[in-house]
Amino acid sequence: MPLPVLDVKNLVLWYRTRKGPVHAVDDISFALEAGQTIALVGESGSGKTSTANSILRLLPKNVLRYEGEVVFDGQDVMEFDNEEFRKVVRWRGISMVFQGAMNALNPTTRVGSQVAEPLIVHYDIDRREAADQAIEALGKVGLSGDIARRYPHELSGGMKQRVVIAMSLILKPKVVILDEPTSALDVMTQTNIINLLKDLKNTEHLSYIFITHDLGLASELADLVGIVYAGQLVEVGPAEGVFVRPKHPYTGKLLASVPRLRSEAAPDFIPGVPPDLTDPPPGCRFHLRCPVSFEKCGWSAPEFIEQVKLLQISEETKDKVPAIEAMKAKDTQTLLIKPVANGTIAEFAQRLTSFIAQDQETYRFLKSVESVQSKAKVVEVKLHEAMPPPLIGADWRASCWLLEAGGS
C-alpha cells in the first residue's frame, strides 16, 4: 500500500463565539493517496469548508482549539511554526480553489500579476519570467495570454474560475483543495470546469480534496467520498461503494433526497434541522433526525422531554400521550414525570409503559427508555447511556451503532 500524500488524523478546530465554543471540525480523519480525489460532502454549515481551511491553517481570529495531525508528504505539518508552514505548505504543497472565484481575486490588480504572485512570493523569481509562467498556466486552463492584462471585473464568471484554477496550479502543488469550485456558475460552465479539473488531474498528477454539497458533482470526480455531518465524518469510503450501498443512515437519506429525472418517486427529505455546532447532541449526532435510531443512539433527558412536548402539541398524537402535568430532567439520562392527578402513580406508570411499547416504532426516541419506575409522586424514567458511535470498518468506515449490531 503506497504512503498517502495527505493523512489527516483527529483534526479538531473549535472557535469561540458569544454563544459558546463552535465545534466546527470535531475529530476528522481521512487519508488521500497521490492522484486520488476525495469528495467531502455535507449540508451547509456542517464543517466542510472549516476542515479545508484548517488543513491550510487558515484560521479565524477566535480559535479556541486547533489540534490533530496533518501528515503531508510524510511530515506532520502541524508541528511547523507559522513561517515554515507558510513557506512549505501553503500553495507549494497544498493549494486551494476558493468558493466564489469572483471574490477571491483582488479587484485592483491585473489578473496576470495575481496568477504570477505566488511564484514571486515563494521562489523570488524575476517578474518577467513569472509573467511568462502565468501566461503558460492560463493557457493550461484554456485562457489566452492577453487575459493576463485584464482586471477581474472585466472577466466572466467562468473565466474568473479558470483564472483561480490557473493560480492554484502555478506552483505545481501535490494537493489542490477545491472548495465548491462551481457553486456560483451556471450548469454548462459547471460541466466545462469539472471536465477541465478532470483533465488537469491526469496531466498534472494532482490529488484533489473536493468540497461540495452536490452529490452529482461528487460522483463525477471522486475516488473516495467523505460524508460530513455536524463537524464529523460519519462515513468515508470508495465512491462506488458509498454512492451505491451507503452504510450510514444519513448518507442514505442524503442520496434519497437528490431529485432524479424520469423517476416517479418524489425526492425524500431529512426532517429537522442540522444541529447547532455550539452544543452538538450527545451520542450519534444524527440521532435526532435519524429514521432508524434505537436504544444506543444517545437520547438525552432534555431531548426526550422536547420530543414528548412535540407529541403533546400535535393534533394527531396528543391523545396517545398519557396526561402529564410536568416533566423535569434529573440528570442527562434520567427524567421525572409528574402525572395529572387522576389515579395512582402505578397506574400512570402502567399507561406510560404501554404507550412506549406501542409506539416506539413510530416515535423512535421512545426506544431509548431503559426503565420506568414509580416513585412517591412521580414516575422516574431512565434512558440508555449516550455513547458516540465509533468509526467501524477499514477502507470503508462509517460511524453508526447499527453496524456494530451487524445489521444495516
Partner: protein, 403 residues
Amino acid sequence: MGVGRYLARRALFLAITFVIAIYVTVVIANGFGKVDEILKAQIYQDLKQAYARNPAYNRLPPEEQARQFNITYNATIEAQGLNEQFLPKTIRYTASALQLKLGRATQLRSGDGSASVSAIIFERLPRSLVLFTVANVIAAVVGIWLGLWMARKALSPFDRGMTVLSVTTFVVPPWVYGILFILVFGFGLKVFPSGGLTSVPPPPPAPLSAAFPPLIAIGLALAGYLANKHVRTKYRLIGYGVMAAAAAVLVAWILAPYDYFKDLEWHMILPATAVAFSVFGSWSYTTRNLVLQVMDEDFVFAARARGLKERDVLSKYVLRTASPPIVTSLALTLAAAWTGAIITETVFNYPGLGALFFEAISLQDAPVVIGLTTMYALLLVVTVFLLDLTYSLLDPRIKALRR
C-alpha cells in the same frame, strides 16, 4: 475617454461652486451692506469734527456751510467707492477676488509695511503650509500604521484601547490640546516654548540649508523603509544603510548649534503635535474600519492561502483596496483642518494664516477677510479636485463604472 470627460465635468462644477462661494463670502464680509453704512457714518462724523475745528468754516453762513460740507462729503464717499449700489459692487469685488486681485488692507500691514492683501497673505502662507503639512503627514503616517495594526489585532485589548483613544482624541479640536500642551509642556515641564514663531529676540540667522536636516532625515528613513518592502531579500542591506544615514543626519542636527531654523522648528513642535494629536485618531479609526471591512473579503483570505506574508497581505491587498475611501474621508478632514487653524494658531501665537484671519476679524479688515476666505475656498476646491483625480487613478473599477 470616460475619465477625461468625468474630470472635466467635475472641474466645471467645482469652478461654479467656487464662484458662488466667493460671492457669498463677499456679501457676508460686507455685512449685507452694513459695513458701508458704518463707514459712511464714520466719514460723516470725522468730517463734522474736522470742520468744527476750522475757524474759517465756522464764520460762513449756515447754507454755505451745508453746501461746502456736502461737496467734501460726497467727494470722499465717491473716492472710497461707497456710493456704488450694493449689488454691482459685490459683483465687482467677486470678480477681482477671482482674479486674485485682493486689494489693499484697511488696517493690517505685512512685515515690511505693505498694505497689499496678497503681500500680507503670502508672507504668512508658507508658515501655515509648513506647520500643517508636517503635522498632517506625521498624523497620517502614524494613524495609518496604527490603524493597520489595530485591524490586524481586531477586538484584542490593544485594539479596543487604541480605538477608544482614537475616537476620543479626534473629536477634540487641536486648539484645546494646544491649551493643555502649553500648560503642561510650556509652563509645567518647561520643555518647549509656549508660543510664537521664534524666540524674542531671534537667534542668529542661518543659511536656508540649515532648515533641511530634519526633513532629509525623515525622507531618508521613509525611503529606506519603503525600499526594503519592495526589494528582494538580498538587497535589503541598502535600505538599512539609508535608514542608518537618516539617523546620523538627525543626530548631527540635534548636536548642531542653536540657529534660526532650529529655533523655528523648535517652536513648531508644540503646535504641530497638537494638530497631529487631534488628527491621527481619525486616520487610525478610519483605516481600521475600512481595513476590517476589506480584511474579511475572500481575495484577502485567498492571498493568505497563497502563502503571502501577513505584512504583504496587509500592504498589498488590504491597504490598496481600502485606500480610495481612506483618502476621501481624510482629504476632507485635511481641508477642514485649514479653517480650524484659526484658533490653533491664535492660541499658539503663531503668525500664520489662521492667526491673520483672527486679527483681520478683530480689526474688521474686510479686504483681508475676503482675501483669506478666497484662499480657503481655493484650497478646498483644489483638494476636492485632486481627490477626484486620485480616486479615478487609484481604483480601476471607477473607470469601468464610467464607461
